[in-house]
């Protein structure tokens, strides 16, 4: 899966969590929590959605690694490379 495709799908998830925000304007190297009004419930819902869409289960101990959009992309990319599989029927 290409970076841009991962980003698009991650932005889609974020858009659902924070519909009031323009996620297309997010800076990729700035902490998401500084750009979006999200709480721990949003974070949990995000992690659940990533699991559903990418087949990537993010353990809690990895949460601190996922501060920015770039962090997320790199993380998902690496985990997909480790053998995690996107949801059945997805583009890849």
């Amino acid at each position: 899966m290409r970076d841009e495709e991962i980003i698009e799908r991650l932005l889609g998830i974020l858009e659902e969590l924070a519909p009031e925000a323009d996620v297309r304007q997010l800076k990729r190297d700035v902490r998401l929590r500084d750009q979006l009004d999200i709480d721990s419930m949003d974070l949990l819902n995000f992690v659940i959605a990533v699991d559903e869409q990418f087949g990537v289960d993010i353990p809690e101990r990895d949460y601190p690694k996922l501060r920015t959009l770039n962090d997320l992309v790199r993380y998902v990319e690496a985990r997909l490379g480790d053998g995690a599989s996107p949801e059945p029927g997805s583009a890849d």
Partner: protein, 384 residues
Amino acid sequence: MADFLMPILGADMTEGTVVTWRKQPGERVERGEIIVEVETDKATVEVESFVAGTVEMILVDEGRKVPVGTPLAVIGVEGEQPVASRPAAAVPPPSVAFPAPAPAATKALGARLRASPAAKQLAQELGVELSTVTGTGPEGRITREDVEQATKVLTRPAEEAPDRQTRMRQAIAAAMSRSAREIPHFHLARDIDMSSATAWLAEEDERKPVAERLLYVVLLIKATALALREVPELNGRWIEGRVVENRAVNVGVAISLRGGGLVAPALLGTDRRTLDDLMRGFRDLVQRARAGSLRGLEITEPTITVTNLGEAGADSVFGLIYPPQVALVGFGRMTERAQIYNGEITPRPAITASLSADHRVVDGHRGSLFLGAIDRMLQEPNRL
């Protein structure tokens, strides 16, 4: 027969709009079954029936806004005479306390119209159908003022109606002003070591599927609920000059809404539910609160409020109680703090728990015991 009234869905509610009737005349409704959706300033609320029976009449049409306490429908209880065969006097007249128009009521009740000559003349001049006007005169007689009032309502420009956000701020302003005005608050705080709770939670979540993971706020909610068993007066309501203790513990959870504002619906039966069940309920509650779709009991039944502002960065919380509740528990940010543990200074995760309490109901001594009980509960998370 039972009148189904526009409920008071919170201390800040003065009126509500009937959005959708879930039951129609002739349909059976069970106790606890949703009968109508009502829009308040804060949310669209699914309202349950408090009696079982058959819906005999709908008195207020969808789309109409009426004050709290206005009869919305008549429910025939089994074994009772149907409304249609009752004498007209048995049907409650429109309440003078709530003079806003309820045109469907007049039509549905089928009562003979009584109107003063001046009212009839004015109605004719303005083209107002008298059957759509609620009379506030003697025996429900329609007065000239009633016709004028009905005209004002009908012709009120749309732009005068404040938007949802404004109405929410107004509702919060009303409730919090009342709280600050009427309740003699006192505040207590206690730092709580969260080492045991966080370690236990990490272990639990490690072995759970992602969709079943717990958030630590659920531990705080459950600990609060269990602590209320030890200091039950904090689980009360101040009504007409005295405290009424609640048997059920229904912790209301403050939920911030997208775009501003907040609601604090209840996790019903909090003290009796498992952490897993509370977590499922909490997720569902947050989702529905933010979508503006809550249930009546969730709005009317909170017996205490918990607010966890630590997530937003506050170190501690000293909030205002939501009347008629008598207490609010706040949790601040979890941080690593230097603590003396086994004779050594070590960094340990901790939060500051605070209590806002109504001094008419409880004193500082009991409040301190309550915070101590929360602390104790959190040191044994496996027992929550």
